[in-house]
C-alpha cells in the first residue's frame, strides 16, 4: 500500500503522425525536484534509440516539456520535441546507425519515461516514476498502399483516402538505393498521391539504371492513375533523387512536372538519355574525397569547384516548372549551396529565374528528413558505384538541423499546396511574386507598447506566397547612433511570416527566434566602434522601427522603402512608477517606487566600474513591484578609494529601509560587476546591513556574481 501521491505523466496526443507535435507534462512531483525525461525506441533493426532531458519541477510539482527548460541531456533549453529529434543510439550500440522506418503500416513505438534525479545512462536498468507509450505514424488511416510492378517500374504508391483526384508526387531518395516508403506514406497522409520509386537495388547502381525512360514511365503511372490530377504532378527528391528531379525537369520532353522539391542535390551531371557520371568526376573522386578526424568520408569536394563548362552540367535554363531548392549550409556530402548559386546564375541567364525558390538553412546537413526525425551527422554507407563500405559524413548540428527539418517541411507543404492544389486560372500563371502585389502587406507587432523584458509578436500578412522578405528593426540611440537587427524569412502559402514561429534563414540572427530582432541588435555598419546601448532617459521609451522589406537584403535598409513599417515603444518604466531624485544625507541616486500604496520590498541597485548614475534597471524593477534605488557611488571615470566608504552605502541602504512605502525587513542588494563585489562586502561586513538583509535576498546577490564573471 502506497501513501505517496503517484507521479503522473501525460503525452497528448498519444497516437500521432510523425510530423505532429506532442505535449509532455509531468505532474505530482515534489516541488523543485530534479527529474529526467527519457524517450526510448526499439528500432526495426533491433537497436535502442534514446533521448533525454534534465528538468526541475516547479513549485506545483509540474514539468512541462514545451514550456520548461531542459538543463542537460541530449538537448537543452525549451524544446517541445527534443525528446524525438535528439534521439541517438543508446551508448554501446553499433556505430554509424540511421533510424528509418521500413514497415509503414505499423507505427514507431516511443516510450516516454520520467525518472527521479538527473541521470545520464543505464535508463533501461532503472525503474521510472511513470511512463507512457506513444505511437508515431507515417501513414494516416485510410491511406492506400499499393505495390507497383508495372511496365518494369518498382515502387509503392500511396493514395490519400477519398475519391480524389489528388495531386501526385514522384518521390525519390538518394544514392543508398532500395525502396523507402516512409516519406511517401506521410505525403499521402497530407493529401498527395505519392509514388516511392526504387531505381536501383541497395548498393548496386549501374549506369544503365539511370535511363530517363524508367523515370518517365514512373511519372506517367502516377499521371495516368484515375485518382490523380494529370496536370498536377510534381517530383520530390533528396540527394541523387534531386539530381534526377532537376535532370528530368530540364531534359525530358515526355513529361511535364508541375513543380519540383529538391533537397540537398545539384545539377552537376552531363545531359544525355541516361544520367552518367562525367569521367572527370570519376577521376577526381580518388583525390578529392577527404576524411575527417573520425575517418568519416567527406565527398563534397569531388564536385568542387562548380564546372564552368556547360557540357558538364544539366542545362537548368531549360527548366519550365517551379523549383524549390532546400539545402543545408553544412552539407558535407554534396556542394548543394554552391550548386544552388550556380543554378540561380544559369537560370538568370536563361530567363527562368522566377521559377526558382531557395531555402538555405544554417548549420544544417545533407539529410533533411521529415520533422522530428533524429539528426544523423554520419552513418554507414555503401558507395553505390564501388560497393565500398564507409561512414559518410552528412553534416549539420543537431539543434539547427532539427529546426531546419521542421521549418522546411512546413514550407515544402506551403509550396506544394500553392503549386499542386491551386487552379490554373490565368491569374495564377503570372509569376506569383508579381501577383497579388496590389494588396499591401500588413505588419503587426503586438504589443506595440511594452516593458523591455516583455516579448512581442511580429506577424506579416498579405505577402505573395513563398516570397523572400527581410524583417528589420531600427533604433536611433540617445547617443545618436543607429542600431539595427534583421532576419531573412520566406512567407508560407497564405503569404504569412510569423517571427515567433518561422525560421530566420540569415541576418543578425538565425533560427526560430521570437525576440531576435531586439537581442541581435548591433550598430549599423559604418558606425563608431565599441558602442554600448544604454538608456539614460527612462521617462521616455526606446523607439524601435520594425519594417519588412522585399527580398533578402543585408544593408542599406534606410535608403530603401519598406513594404510596411510599425513603430514600437520599449519602456523601462511602467505607468505610475514614481521617479524621485535623491540628494539626501550626501547620497546621490534615483529612487523608483512602484505604483500603489505599498509597502514594497526594497532594493539597493548598484552598477559596476563604469560609474555614474544608471537608472534603467531600477525603473524596470519598480515596474515589477520593487522599490529600487539606483545608486551613483562615483562619477564616471573618477573613482577614488575615498568614494567607497562603507558609511555611504549604509546611509543609502537606510534611506530605502526607512522609506514609508518600503517593508523595512525586506530590503536586498542587487549588484553587477563592481556592484556585486560591493554587495558581498556590505552583506558580510556591515553589521548595520547584515542584520537587515533577509536570507533569501542572497539569491539575488549571488545571481549577479555569475553575471559579473561571465
Amino acid at each position: 500500500m502506497s501513501q505517496t501521491i503517484p507521479t503522473s505523466l501525460s503525452v497528448v496526443p498519444t497516437r500521432a503522425l510523425v510530423d505532429e507535435a506532442f505535449k509532455v507534462v509531468v505532474q505530482n512531483l515534489p516541488p523543485a525536484s530534479p527529474v529526467t525525461l527519457h524517450a526510448l525506441l526499439y528500432s526495426e533493426d533491433k537497436d535502442y534509440w534514446e533521448a533525454y532531458g534534465h528538468y526541475v519541477s516547479d513549485h506545483r510539482g509540474t514539468v512541462s516539456v514545451a514550456e520548461d527548460m531542459s538543463l542537460g541531456g541530449t538537448y537543452t533549453g525549451k524544446e517541445a520535441m527534443g525528446l524525438l529529434w535528439s534521439m541517438r543510439p543508446e551508448p554501446g550500440s553499433r556505430t554509424g546507425l540511421r533510424l528509418r522506418k521500413r514497415e509503414v503500416t505499423s507505427p514507431m513505438l516511443v516510450h516516454i519515461n520520467v525518472y527521479s534525479g538527473h541521470i545520464t545512462e543505464g535508463f533501461r536498468k532503472q525503474s521510472p516514476l511513470a511512463s507512457v507509450l506513444t505511437e508515431r505514424w507515417f501513414m494516416a488511416p485510410g491511406v492506400q498502399r499499393i505495390e507497383i510492378k508495372e511496365k518494369g517500374v518498382r515502387g509503392t504508391f500511396f493514395i490519400p483516402p477519398g475519391p480524389g483526384p489528388f495531386p501526385g508526387l514522384l518521390d525519390m531518395w538518394g544514392g543508398g538505393g532500395g525502396l523507402l516508403e516512409y516519406r511517401s506514406a506521410l505525403l499521402a497522409s497530407r493529401g498527395y498521391a505519392s509514388l516511392a520509386l526504387e531505381y536501383f537495388s541497395p548498393g548496386e547502381l549501374r549506369s544503365e539504371d539511370l535511363q530517363i525512360q524508367y523515370f518517365e514511365t514512373a511519372f506517367n503511372i502516377i499521371k495516368d492513375h484515375p485518382q490523380v490530377i494529370p496536370d498536377s504532378v510534381g517530383i520530390f527528391g533528396l540527394s541523387l533523387g534531386t539530381v534526377l528531379a532537376i535532370y528530368l525537369a530540364a531534359v525530358s520532353t515526355k513529361i511535364t512536372p508541375r513543380c519540383c522539391v529538391c533537397i540537398s542535390g545539384h545539377h552537376l551531371y552531363p545531359a544525355g538519355t541516361a544520367l552518367k557520371e562525367n569521367p572527370k568526376t570519376e577521376k577526381k573522386r580518388l583525390v578529392a574525397v577527404r576524411y575527417d578526424e573520425n575517418n568519416y568520408q567527406i565527398s563534397r569536394d569531388v564536385r568542387l569547384p562548380i564546372p564552368t563548362d556547360l557540357s558538364e552540367k544539366v542545362d537548368v535554363r531549360k527548366i519550365k516548372c517551379h523549383m524549390l531548392l532546400v539545402n543545408g549550409d553544412d552539407d558535407q556530402n554534396v556542394p548543394a549551396v554552391e550548386a544552388a548559386e550556380d543554378i540561380a546564375q544559369m537560370m538568370r541567364s536563361g530567363g527562368n529565374l522566377h521559377l526558382l525558390t531557395t531555402l538555405t538553412y544554417p548549420n544544417t546537413g545533407h539529410l533533411i528528413e521529415p520533422p522530428y526525425s533524429p539528426h544523423f551527422r554520419a552513418t554507414n554507407f555503401i558507395i553505390p558505384t564501388t560497393k565500398e563500405k564507409v561512414i559518410n559524413l552528412w553534416g549539420g548540428q543537431t539543434k539547427p538541423h532539427a529546426d531546419a527539418q521542421e521549418d522546411s517541411w512546413r514550407k515544402i507543404f506551403a509550396y506544394l499546396h500553392h503549386h499542386l492544389y491551386s487552379s490554373t486560372t490565368p491569374k495564377a500563371k503570372i509569376p506569383y511574386h508579381k501577383a497579388n502585389m496590389s494588396i499591401p502587406p500588413i505588419l503587426s507587432v503586438v504589443p506595440t507598447r511594452a516593458l523591455v523584458d516583455e516579448t512581442f509578436k511580429v506577424v506579416v500578412q498579405n505577402l505573395p506566397p513563398a516570397s523572400p522578405v527581410t524583417l528589420h528593426a531600427l533604433l536611433y540611440s540617445e547617443d545618436k547612433d543607429y542600431w539595427e537587427a534583421y532576419g531573412h524569412y520566406v512567407s508560407d502559402h497564405r503569404g504569412t511570416v510569423s517571427v515567433a514561429e518561422d525560421m530566420s534563414l540569415g541576418g543578425t540572427y538565425t533560427g526560430k527566434e521570437a525576440m531576435g530582432l531586439l537581442w541581435s541588435m548591433r550598430p549599423e555598419p559604418g558606425s563608431r566602434t565599441g558602442l554600448r546601448l544604454r538608456k539614460r532617459e527612462v521617462t521616455s521609451p526606446m523607439l524601435v522601427h520594425i519594417s519588412v522589406y522585399s527580398g533578402h537584403i543585408t544593408e542599406g535598409f534606410r535608403k530603401q522603402s519598406p513594404l510596411a513599417s510599425v513603430l514600437t515603444e520599449r519602456w523601462y518604466m511602467a505607468p505610475g512608477v514614481q521617479r524621485i531624485e535623491i540628494k539626501e544625507k550626501g547620497v546621490r541616486g534615483t529612487f523608483f517606487i512602484p505604483p500603489g500604496p505599498g509597502p514594497f520590498p526594497g532594493l539597493l541597485d548598484m552598477w559596476g566600474g563604469g560609474g555614474g548614475l544608471l537608472e534603467y534597471r531600477s525603473a524596470l524593477l519598480a515596474s515589477h513591484g520593487y522599490a529600487s534605488l539606483a545608486l551613483e557611488y562615483f562619477s564616471p571615470g573618477e573613482l577614488e578609494s575615498s568614494d567607497l566608504q562603507m558609511q555611504y552605502f549604509e546611509t543609502a541602504f537606510n534611506i530605502i529601509k526607512d522609506h514609508p512605502q518600503v517593508i523595512p525587513d525586506k530590503v536586498g542588494i542587487l549588484g553587477l560587476s563592481l556592484g556585486t563585489i560591493l554587495a558581498f562586502y556590505l552583506a558580510a561586513e556591515s553589521t548595520n546591513i547584515k542584520a537587515s538583509i533577509r536570507y533569501n535576498m542572497w539569491a539575488l546577490v549571488h545571481l549577479n556574481l555569475l553575471t559579473c564573471h561571465r
Partner: protein
C-alpha cells in the same frame, strides 16, 4: 475537508428542438445551388478544377478527444454535405450527416461553421460523431457499444456535392478521410480477471504506477462492459470493470444476480491490493443499477472508497441480492407490477425506482456514506427516477450534516445512458427477445444528451483528479 464544494449545476444546453433528427427538407436543384461557380469558370469535373480535400486533426484520437475537420479547395458559397459512416462490430451501418455552405475562400471548418441541416444544427465539431444513427431501413433498437476495446471505431468521413441525404441519393463524393476513435491508449494493459470468483477486466495505464483506481459498475443489461474502464486507464487510472449478471463465468442462471456483498467487496479489495494501485485512492463509479451497488458497497464496513460517482440510478432495490438472502429472485421480474409502457409498447422502469416503491430492507443507508459523492442526473431519464433518488441522497446527507460531501449535476434533456463523450444516444433500444421482444425507453434528446455527456465527463475527470490524486 472544509473546502469541499457542493454544486447543483443545471446545464443549459441547445434548444430541445435541435435534438430531433433533422431530415433535409430543402433540395436545391444542382444547377441552382452551383450557380455561383459559373462566374469563376471553375467546374467540378475538369482536369483543371480544384482538388477538394478533407483533413482532420488528429486522425487517430481517443474517444473523448475532439477532432477538427476541414474541407478546402471547394468552390465558394457552395452547398456541400459531410457524411460520417461506420460499421459497428455487429456489422450494422451507422451514419450521420450535416449540410454546410462553403465560405468565400472555399473552405468548411466544422469547428467554425454552422450545420444548416442534417443530424445536428449549428456549430458542433463533434456533431457527426454523437449524431450517428443506424442507417434507415436497418435493424431497430440498436445501441452503439464497443465490445473489443483493443480496436478503434473506424469512421469514414465523406464530403458530398450539394445538400443531400446520404441514404437517399447517389451524390458525387468530392473528398473523404478516415478517422480512428479509440477507447484504449497505446501502452494500456488489458488483463482479464478470473480470481477469487471475481469476473472482470482490469485496465492498467502504461508505466510502473502505482495508480489511483476506479471500480466500474454498469447496469442490469449485464455482461462485461469494458470501454469506460479502458478510457479511465487511458487517462491514468487503473480501472476494474466488473461483471455481476449475464456473464457465463458467473455462478447460477445468467438472467439474475447470483452474487452478493462479499463478491463486490472481494472485487474492491482485489483492486486495492494490486501492486500497481494506490490502496487509499480507489473510487467507485456506477450507472443505473450500478449506482445502487456503488452506494451499497461504499457503506459496507472494511470498504473505504475515496469517492463515488453515481449516474442515474437508485439508492435501493426491489429485491435482495440472491447470495445474501437466498430468498427472492435477483432480477427485475419481481418489479413487474411497476413497469409502464408508452404508446408503442416500449417499457419504462422509471416507477420501479421511486423511493416509495423500493423494498425498505434493500435501501442503502446513505447517511453512512463517508466520502465525496457526485450524482449525475439526466432530467429526461425515462428509465429510473433519478431526480427523486438524487433528492433523497441530498436530503439524507443534509440531515446528517454531510452536505459538503455531495455534488449534484443535473442536465436538462439528457436521458438515462450518460456515457463517455460523443457516443450517440439511444432513446429506445432492444431490451430482450424472450419471451417477447421488448424495447426499453432510456430518454434523452440527442443534442442536449451529447452536451451532458461532454460536460459530465470533464467534471467526472476533475472530480477524480481532486479526490484520487
Amino acid at each position: 475537508m472544509i473546502t469541499m464544494f457542493r454544486v447543483h449545476a443545471v446545464v443549459t444546453t441547445i434548444q430541445q428542438n435541435a435534438a430531433i433528427r433533422m431530415v433535409p427538407c430543402i433540395r436545391i436543384p444542382r444547377n441552382v445551388a452551383c450557380c455561383h461557380r459559373a462566374v469563376g469558370g471553375i467546374r467540378w469535373r475538369s482536369s483543371y478544377r480544384l482538388a477538394p480535400i478533407l483533413t482532420a486533426s488528429p486522425v487517430r484520437a481517443l474517444i473523448d478527444e475532439k477532432i477538427s475537420i476541414k474541407g478546402s479547395f471547394l468552390p465558394p458559397h457552395c452547398a456541400v454535405t459531410l457524411c460520417a459512416r461506420m460499421h459497428c462490430e455487429d456489422g450494422d451501418l451507422w451514419e450521420s450527416f450535416a449540410h454546410f455552405n462553403t465560405k468565400a475562400d472555399g473552405t468548411v471548418h466544422l469547428t467554425r461553421d454552422d450545420s444548416v441541416g442534417g443530424s445536428y444544427l449549428g456549430c458542433d465539431p463533434m456533431g457527426l460523431f454523437w449524431g450517428l444513427q443506424p442507417a434507415p431501413g436497418k435493424r431497430e433498437g440498436l445501441r452503439l457499444r464497443k465490445k473489443s476495446v483493443e480496436t478503434p471505431y473506424v469512421v469514414r468521413m465523406s464530403l458530398l456535392e450539394g445538400h443531400v441525404s446520404p441514404s437517399e441519393d447517389q451524390s458525387t463524393e468530392l473528398a473523404a478521410l478516415t478517422t480512428e476513435r479509440w477507447y484504449m491508449a497505446p501502452g494500456v494493459k488489458r488483463i482479464e480477471i478470473r480470481q477469487n470468483g471475481v469476473v472482470g477486466t482490469l485496465f492498467l495505464p502504461p508505466g510502473p504506477g502505482p495508480f489511483p483506481a476506479m471500480l466500474d459498475l454498469w447496469g442490469m443489461g449485464g455482461g462485461l462492459v469494458e470501454y469506460r474502464s479502458a478510457l479511465f486507464a487511458s487517462r491514468g487510472y487503473a480501472s476494474l470493470c466488473l461483471a455481476y449478471i449475464g456473464h457465463q463465468d458467473l455462478p447460477g442462471p445468467q438472467h439474475q444476480v447470483n452474487v452478493g456483498d462479499s463478491y463486490f467487496k472481494t472485487a474492491f479489495q482485489l483492486l486495492q491490493d494490486h501492486h500497481q494501485v494506490c490502496a487509499n485512492r480507489v473510487g467507485i463509479i456506477g450507472l443505473s443499477f450500478g449506482v445502487y451497488l456503488t452506494l451499497r458497497l461504499a457503506t459496507l464496513t472494511c470498504v473505504q472508497p475515496s469517492c463515488l460517482i453515481c449516474i442515474n440510478g437508485p439508492v435501493g432495490n426491489s429485491f435482495k441480492l440472491q447470495a445474501d438472502s437466498g430468498s427472492r429472485i435477483g432480477n427485475l421480474a419481481g418489479s413487474q407490477p411497476y413497469w409502464t409502457y408508452d404508446d408503442q409498447g416500449n417499457v419504462s422502469f422509471k416507477i420501479v425506482s421511486l423511493p416509495e416503491n423500493m423494498n425498505p430492507e434493500c435501501k442503502v443507508k446513505v447517511e453512512d456514506v463517508a466520502c465525496p459523492l457526485m450524482y449525475i442526473e439526466g432530467m429526461d431519464d425515462l428509465n429510473s427516477s433519478s431526480k427523486e433518488n438524487a433528492d433523497l441522497i441530498e436530503e439524507t446527507l443534509n440531515t446528517v450534516g454531510k452536505s459538503h460531501l455531495f455534488t449534484r449535476l443535473s442536465y436538462p434533456g439528457a436521458g438515462h445512458l450518460i456515457e463517455p463523450p460523443y457516443a450517440p444516444n439511444a432513446r429506445v433500444s432492444l431490451w430482450r427477445v424472450k419471451p417477447n421482444k421488448l424495447f426499453v425507453q432510456w430518454g434523452g434528446h440527442h443534442a442536449p444528451h451529447a452536451a451532458a455527456q461532454e460536460d459530465s465527463w470533464k467534471k467526472i475527470l476533475d472530480f477524480m483528479e481532486s479526490h484520487l490524486r
